[in-house]
């Protein structure tokens, strides 16, 4: 049975300096509040794993939490570049960032192998691209049955995975629906897991297309209302597209980013993180 904890305690106990940490959520249910709490608690030397290191990892990288990034697509979806990520790769600011770069198919299969307790996964991928030349975790393997040469990628087994879901019950059973991305695989691949949820309820009403993570497969659950903002939680709130555009103006400037970390993360408690309308975020967003 998962422990029901506060977000601050959950991050404090489960995310440690030097850990391999996966925050997943494919455009939907991105655990932003948890990301802010990791910054607030000053974690360092993390290996951050995520298929789409969008705004949430731009923030962690810019705040100097990461030593390495394992990923497959690093942009601001629908807007353009991740400027903190680019600054780290191109100028080693604020600290050097090592990268390990895959395709989505490769990353998804790495999580599947991790969740399956297997050492690696095979896929028909990467052939002819320049990725294998620069990424040592892509190798070739010959199928013992057909002789076909296929790509092999090692399992990802994070020290801790953090995901966001719509609901959990008081036993820590987690319920999510809509686009569920690679969250189930990322949780099952990890040594420890923290699931932030919109709300903890007495009973989980079934929802079409739901994914249930039993409480015994999750380490801890923390309530974090609006914890996916500016991404969305289907059934609770919509994607804040204006915030993604607004982030471009913050992320593209080191000083503006520093002010953002101070005002929106360090000077705020975990409960307020990610809630729109606080600290004038809404009125600064160009419409």
């Amino acid at each position: 049975m998962a422990d029901i904890v506060t977000l601050a305690d959950g991050i404090g106990e489960l995310v440690r300096d030097g850990d391999v940490v996966a925050l997943e959520g494919f455009t939907h249910l991105i655990p932003h509040a948890a990301g802010h709490e990791i910054i607030r608690q000053g974690r360092r030397d993390l290996t951050l794993v995520r298929m789409t290191p969008d705004i949430v990892y731009d923030q962690l990288i810019g705040a100097g939490c990461a030593r390495k990034l394992v990923f497959s697509w690093g942009g601001n979806p629908g807007v353009g570049s991740l400027h903190r990520f680019r600054d780290a790769v191109q100028h080693a600011w604020p600290v050097p960032l090592e990268i390990e770069e895959h395709s989505h198919a490769g990353m998804a299969n790495r999580y599947v192998a991790g969740a399956s307790g297997l050492p690696f996964a095979v896929l028909r991928g990467y052939r002819g691209t320049d990725l294998p030349e620069h990424t040592s975790t892509i190798k070739w393997i010959t199928c013992p049955f057909t002789g076909e040469e296929l790509a092999a990628v090692p399992a990802i087994n994070p020290d801790v995975t953090v995901v966001h879901a719509q609901r959990a019950d008081r036993q820590g059973n987690v319920q999510m629906w809509g686009l569920v991305g690679v969250q189930k695989e990322a949780v099952l691949a990890a040594e420890r897991s923290l699931v932030t949820v919109e709300e903890v309820v007495d009973e989980l009403e079934p929802v079409p297309g739901q994914v249930i993570l039993p409480g015994w497969a999750v380490t801890a659950v923390a309530e974090a209302p609006h914890g996916a903002h500016p991404s969305y939680a289907q059934g609770y709130y919509e994607r804040d597209n204006a915030y993604y555009r607004y982030w471009d103006s913050i992320g593209s400037d080191r000083e503006a980013f520093g002010n953002w970390v101070r005002d929106e993360v360090m000077n705020k408690g975990a409960r307020n993180t990610g809630v729109p309308g606080k600290a004038g975020v809404d009125k600064e967003v160009p419409q």
């Binding site: 494919f26 690093g74 629908g78 191109q90 320049d130 686009l179 297309g209």
Partner: protein
């Protein structure tokens, strides 16, 4: 360079012509893997004009999305809510893309070379110390490998159309005809490149991209000036039909509804 054209249908921009030309390339009933931006715009115009049964597949895990506005990301709620099925990301790649269930992959590019190879990873010749760090691969390498064929939609300039890409993120035709077969890539690769100036297709003998069609108001010299290699031009280069009023109004209505 021409940025807008006037005709009987009214005035349109080169970007609008590109989106409409890309939309026309999609046949009704096609199962199409759609990236965000230009490809998504074109696919949604097609579904609202000549191809109502076009099947839109987004890598976030939606099969058969029918959005009424253009999504801002590949994972907007509207894509999931209007889909025939919502699936996990591993399932998208392993069950639907890899076995060849998807007819057309619709991709963009930061750089494209004469054989249709795509770079979305880095600009500059040193991967470890790039001039510009781009977002990276996403789903594109396997989309380019495993879809029946690939359409590329990209604005044409000497910056984007280069002799050789700085990094092969997604394979087009490698270094020429036969490379895809040698590598065992199941799909046909890029069969169509649609730009804001015209349309290019691979030469059946060499797989090199050849200019086969010009958009209205554009001349061959304009396209040559926007290409970073010595561009081959088909002897019978065609002319794209001007956007119809219906196409233009469909495109603009979608764009307005999304802004």
């Amino acid at each position: 360079m021409t940025t807008s054209v006037t005709s009987a249908a009214g005035e349109w921009t080169a970007d609008e012509m590109m989106s409409i030309a890309a939309a026309r390339a999609l046949q009704n009933g096609t199962r199409c893997f759609v990236g965000i931006g230009l490809p998504s715009t074109a696919a949604n115009v097609a579904r609202r004009t000549h191809a109502p049964d076009l099947v839109l597949i987004y890598e976030s895990g939606t099969l058969g999305s029918k959005p009424d506005v253009l999504p801002s990301s590949i994972g907007d709620g509207v894509l999931a809510e209007t889909a025939d099925a919502v699936i996990s990301v591993p399932e998208v790649f392993n069950y639907w893309l890899q076995p060849g269930r998807i007819d057309v992959g619709f991709l963009g590019a930061a750089q494209l070379d004469r054989f249709g190879n795509i770079n979305t990873t880095v600009i500059g010749d040193d991967y470890a110390d790039p001039k510009v760090r781009l977002p990276g691969a996403g789903g594109a390498p396997e989309i380019a490998a495993s879809c029946g064929e690939v359409f590329v939609v990209v604005r044409q300039s000497t910056r984007s159309f280069v002799e050789q890409v700085d990094f092969v993120t997604s394979v087009g035709h490698g270094s020429g005809k036969g490379d895809r077969q040698r590598w065992g890539l199941p799909g046909a690769g890029p069969t169509l490149v649609i730009t804001d100036l015209g349309i290019l297709r691979p030469d059946p003998d060499t797989a090199e991209l050849v200019l086969t069609q010009l958009h209205p108001g554009v001349e061959v010299d304009d396209v040559r000036a926007a290409t970073g290699w010595d561009l081959k031009v088909a002897p019978d280069v065609g002319r794209t039909a001007a956007p119809t009023p219906e196409e233009l109004s469909t495109l603009r209505t979608l764009k307005e509804a999304s802004s």
